[in-house]
Amino acid sequence: MATKKTRIKAKAKNGIVTVMALAKHPMYSGAEAKKLKVKQNFITYLKAEVSGKIVYEVTSSQFFSKNPYLKFKYKGNKGDEIVISWVDLLGNKNTSKSKAK
């Protein structure tokens, strides 16, 4: 699990950074998990930080699609280092970073 990274693309324009993130996660909902005979598991909480300040924060559910794709905007500049971290139902964690272009 640790090798799976969140792909992050961020572009700055006129003081606004648009971030596109693709988290690698199967996001098994209850029904899907039952069908595939695996444990129900999905990302429950994801946040994005820039120099320690939270710019994006979501409490998620099993109804996010597989490999959740998230797009958001925040007020920032070129060169910002965006750190995205998530935690899932089974306690797995992942942190990935990328710089705004």
């Binding site: 909480y45 300040k53 710019v55 994006y56 996010f64 699609s65 959740p68 925040y74 007020k75």
Partner: protein
């Protein structure tokens, strides 16, 4: 006695120092655990997608009320989704929002996501969700103690929840 007092003051200062940082990070699964298990009403074995009761009760659990003002929120969703496993949703608003929540009545549980908007944040959230069947998607933006909402009906031709 003096020493004890000193310790309690120190503890108070310590707690006060911790609170601001914890305010910015909110996991709604910890603060509102009930809102995540609220079910949409069933019709036979399937979820009744014509009823908004699940959405309303989840809203009530999260915000204490289900009274909303229509408008000021933009919710972009397809009219017809060919694949229920990937329904693109975009919520945007010019309101100075505190939180943004997304509900639907096509899956067993009503709550999909709750965003905590940071100070000076831009309300522009795009994500892809699963929908088990045709249903209603509702986005709620909390701003200045009031709730603003937008609703869309998404027709799903192929269910996306293991169905």
């Amino acid at each position: 006695m003096n020493r004890r007092k000193f310790i309690s003051i120190g503890l108070g200062v310590f707690v006060a120092a911790i609170i601001p940082s914890s305010l910015s990070a909110v996991n709604f699964r910890d603060t509102k655990p009930k809102a995540w298990s609220l079910m949409n009403p069933l019709k036979g074995k399937k979820v009744d997608a014509s009823s908004l009761n699940g959405i309303n009760s989840a809203m009530k659990e999260l915000y204490g009320t289900s009274t909303v003002i229509e408008g000021k929120v933009k919710l972009k969703a397809p009219d017809i989704a060919e694949n229920g496993a990937l329904v693109p949703i975009t919520i945007s608003s010019d309101l100075n929002a505190k939180t943004v929540a997304l509900f639907q009545n096509a899956n067993p549980e009503a709550t999909v996501a709750v965003f905590n908007v940071p100070a000076n944040g831009i309300v522009y959230y795009s994500l892809r969700i699963k929908m088990g069947q045709t249903g209603t998607v509702t986005a709620v933006v909390e701003s200045g103690g009031k709730l603003y909402s937008a609703t869309r009906v998404v027709k799903v031709t192929k269910g996306g929840c293991g169905g």
